[in-house]
C-alpha cells in the first residue's frame, strides 16, 4: 500500500518535471535569435521572397503568440507527433528511434563496465585505507575525474587507431558498406574504443564513492568484530564490505545516467559514431528545433527514470530513509 502511494506520488512528480522540462526548453527555443524560417529554409534562404516568407511563417504558425505555439506543440506531443527533423529529412521519432538503437548498446556496455570496474576498484582501495594500492587507485580516480571526456577520447583515438592501428578511426561500420551488411564482430570492433572511453569516466565517481563507503565500513564496529574473530582483511571486504558498498554504487550509477549521456555526446562526436549524441550536437549546431526539443524531453525521461530507480533502490534497501521521509 505504501509502495503504491510512493510510486504514485513519484510518477506525478515525474510528469510535472517533464512538463516543466518541456516548458523550459520551449521557452529557450523561443528566446533564440535564430529565425525559425531561416533555419527551415537553410541555403535556399536567398531564393525566397518576403511574401513567401510570411506565407511560410503563417503555415508553420510562427506568427502566433508563444503560448499558443506551446499549446499546439504540447498537443502534438501528446498525440505522439514529434515533428519533422529538417537536417535528417525524417520524422523526429524515426531519427530518435534509429539513433538511440545505435547508442543504446554503447551506453549500456559503458554503464555496466564503469559500475563493475568502479565497485572493484573502490573496494580494493577502501579495504585498506592509506595503503599503496589505495593511493594509486584514488590518485587515478582523481585524475580521471578532472579529465575532459573528449580529450580522453582524442588520446585513445590517437594512440589506438592512428598510431597502433588496432581499432577503426570512425563511424559504426566500414565506409561504403550498408549498415545491414556489417557483421556483429565489425560492429563490436567499432564500438570498442568509444565504450572504453565512456566507461573510464564513470569509473572515477563510482570508485571514489565506493571507496569512501568501504573505508567507513572498515572502521565500523562490525568490521572490528570480524577482525577480532580472526577473519582476514580480504574475507571481511569480500563477505561484508561488498554488500555494504555495492548498493550505493548501483544507486549512484542509476543517478548519474545524465552524465553518461552527456559523455556520449562528446565521445560520439570524437569517434564520429552516428548515435543519438551526435544527432543532438548536429541538431544544436544546425538549429533543428523539433529534434533538439524532442531529445531534451527524451533524455529528461531517461534520466528521471534512472533517478526514480535509484530512489526506489535506496528505499527498498535502507528502510531508515523511508522512515525519515514520512517524518518530514
Amino acid at each position: 500500500m505504501r509502495l503504491t502511494a510512493w510510486l504514485a506520488s513519484r510518477l506525478l512528480r515525474l510528469l510535472l518535471v517533464l512538463l516543466s522540462v518541456a516548458a523550459v526548453s520551449f521557452g529557450l527555443m523561443m528566446l533564440s535569435p535564430i529565425d525559425p524560417v531561416d533555419a527551415y529554409l537553410g541555403p535556399q534562404m536567398a531564393q525566397v521572397s518576403p511574401e513567401q516568407r510570411t506565407l511560410i511563417a503563417e503555415r508553420w504558425g510562427f506568427n502566433a503568440p508563444a503560448s499558443v505555439q506551446f499549446h499546439h506543440w504540447l498537443q502534438q506531443l501528446l498525440s505522439g507527433e514529434l515533428g519533422w527533423s529538417h537536417i535528417y529529412n525524417q520524422p523526429v521519432s524515426d531519427v530518435i528511434n534509429q539513433r538511440f538503437q545505435r547508442s543504446f548498446f554503447l551506453l549500456l556496455s559503458a554503464w555496466l563496465l564503469s559500475l563493475i570496474l568502479g565497485v572493484v576498484l573502490g573496494i580494493a582501495a577502501g579495504s585498506k585505507e592509506g595503503s599503496l594500492l589505495d593511493r594509486l587507485i584514488s590518485g587515478y580516480a582523481y585524475i580521471t575525474a578532472s579529465t575532459p571526456t573528449f580529450w580522453l577520447a582524442m588520446l585513445a583515438l590517437l594512440l589506438f587507431s592512428v598510431t597502433l592501428g588496432w581499432t577503426p578511426t570512425c563511424c559504426a561500420g566500414p565506409t561504403g558498406v550498408l549498415s545491414q551488411e556489417v557483421t556483429l564482430l565489425t560492429q563490436l570492433h567499432h564500438l570498442l574504443l568509444p565504450t572504453l572511453t565512456l566507461a573510464l569516466l564513470g569509473v572515477a565517481t563510482i570508485t571514489l564513492h565506493t571507496r569512501a563507503k568501504m573505508a567507513a565500513f572498515m572502521r565500523s564496529d562490525t568490521a572490528l568484530h570480524a577482525f577480532a574473530q580472526g577473519a582476514s582483511r580480504f574475507d571481511i571486504a569480500w563477505r561484508h564490505g561488498l554488500r555494504h558498498a555495492s548498493l550505493p554504487a548501483v544507486t549512484l550509477a542509476f543517478a548519474s545516467l545524465g552524465e553518461l549521456f552527456g559523455g556520449s555526446l562528446l565521445v560520439e562526436q570524437v569517434f564520429a559514431y552516428p548515435g543519438l549524441g551526435q544527432a543532438t550536437v548536429a541538431a544544436g549546431l544546425r538549429s533543428d528545433v523539433p529534434l533538439l526539443l524532442a531529445i531534451a524531453l527524451f533524455t529528461a525521461l531517461f534520466v528521471s527514470v534512472g533517478n526514480l530507480i535509484a530512489d526506489g533502490l535506496y528505499q527498498w534497501a535502507d528502510p531508515r530513509i523511508a522512515r525519515d521521509r514520512t517524518n518530514e
Binding site: R13, L16, V17, L18, S20, V21, V24, S25, L28, M29, L31, S32, P33, I34, Y142, I143, A145, S146, T147, P148, T149, F150, W151, M154, L155, L157, L158, V162, T163, T169, G258, E259, F261, G262, L265, L266, Q269, V270, T280, V281, G284, L285, S287, L292, I295, A296, T299, A300, V303, S304, N307
Partner: protein, 265 residues
C-alpha cells in the same frame, strides 16, 4: 603530526596562487603571440625553437595553450560565481514561503533531470553563442546541485532554537533569512563556488569543442582541440596532447585546492 597536512595545504595554496597570477597576467606578457602566424613554420613538431610545436597556421602552441587556459580560467570563474549567486538567491527565496519553496524545488528537479550538456546546448543555442552566452549557460546549468545543498542547510537552520526565538520576537521572515540564516551558509557558498569551478571549466571546454561555445577565432582550449581533431589522423599528436594536458592539470589543481579547503572549513 598536525603540521604536515597544514604545510602541504600552505604549499598548495602558494603554488595555486602563483599559477593564478601567472595565468591572469598572461595576456600582458604573451602579447599577440597566440595569434601570430609564421607561414614558414607550419605544423612543426615540438623542438627547442617551438617548445610545444606549431599549428597549421604556424602559431606557437605553447602561447595558444596558455592563452586558452587563461580564457578557460576567466570563463570558469565568472560562471562559478554567477552560478553560486543564483543558487544562494534562489535557496534563500525558497525560505520565504512554502509556495516559493515548491517552485524552486521543481525548478531544481527540472534542470537536474536534463543532462548538463544537453541543457548547455539548449541555452547556448537560445543565447546565440559567444563568451557571455557560455558564462550564462554554464552558470544556469550548475546552480541546481549547489542550491539543493544550500536549501537543505537553510531548512535545518530554520528549525534551530535561535530562529524560533527571533520569530517569537516578531521578526519578519525576510529579516530572519537575511540576518540569521545567510551568514551561516556563506562559507558553504565559498566552497560550493570552488567546487563548481572545475566543472564549469570542463563544461565550457566541452561546449566550445562541440562548436556552440566560445568564438572559434579565440584561442580557447575547446577551439584548439577541435582544430587538433582535424589533424589527428595525420599524426600531428602535439596539437591534441598539450592543450588537453594543460586543461587537465589546471582542473586537477583547482579540484585538489577546493577539496582541501572544504576539509579545512
Amino acid at each position: 603530526m598536525n603540521s604536515q597536512p597544514r604545510l602541504v595545504a600552505a604549499g598548495y595554496a602558494g603554488v595555486f596562487g602563483l599559477l593564478v597570477l601567472l595565468l591572469l597576467s598572461s595576456s600582458l606578457w604573451l602579447g599577440d603571440s597566440p595569434l601570430h602566424m609564421q607561414f614558414e613554420a607550419r605544423l612543426m613538431p615540438p623542438s627547442a625553437e617551438h617548445w610545444l610545436g606549431t599549428d597549421a597556421l604556424g602559431r606557437e602552441l605553447w602561447a595558444r595553450t596558455l592563452a586558452g587556459l587563461a580564457l578557460s580560467f576567466g570563463v570558469g570563474l565568472s560562471a562559478a560565481l554567477l552560478g553560486t549567486l543564483i543558487a544562494l538567491s534562489l535557496a534563500s527565496l525558497a525560505m520565504l514561503s512554502p509556495i516559493l519553496d515548491a517552485l524552486v524545488s521543481l525548478l531544481i528537479d527540472t534542470l537536474l533531470s536534463v543532462p548538463h550538456l544537453i541543457l548547455l546546448l539548449l541555452i547556448a543555442f537560445a543565447l546565440g553563442g559567444g563568451t557571455q552566452a557560455v558564462i550564462i549557460a554554464v552558470a544556469l546549468t550548475h546552480w541546481p546541485s549547489l542550491a539543493r545543498l544550500l536549501r537543505a542547510e537553510l531548512l535545518s537552520l530554520r528549525n534551530s532554537p535561535y530562529v524560533a526565538i527571533s520569530k517569537g520576537f516578531g521578526k519578519r521572515q525576510g529579516f530572519i533569512v537575511w540576518y540569521h540564516l545567510l551568514p551561516h551558509v556563506l562559507p558553504h557558498c565559498l566552497v560550493g563556488a570552488l567546487l563548481l569551478f572545475p566543472h564549469a571549466i570542463l563544461h565550457e571546454a566541452a561546449l566550445t569543442f562541440l562548436g556552440v561555445g566560445l568564438d572559434p577565432t579565440q584561442p580557447a582550449i575547446g577551439v584548439l582541440l577541435a582544430d587538433a581533431m582535424r589533424y589527428l589522423t595525420g599524426g600531428y599528436w602535439w596539437l591534441g596532447v598539450f592543450p588537453g594536458l594543460g586543461l587537465l592539470l589546471m582542473v586537477l589543481a583547482i579540484e585538489r585546492f577546493a577539496s582541501m579547503l572544504r576539509k579545512a572549513l
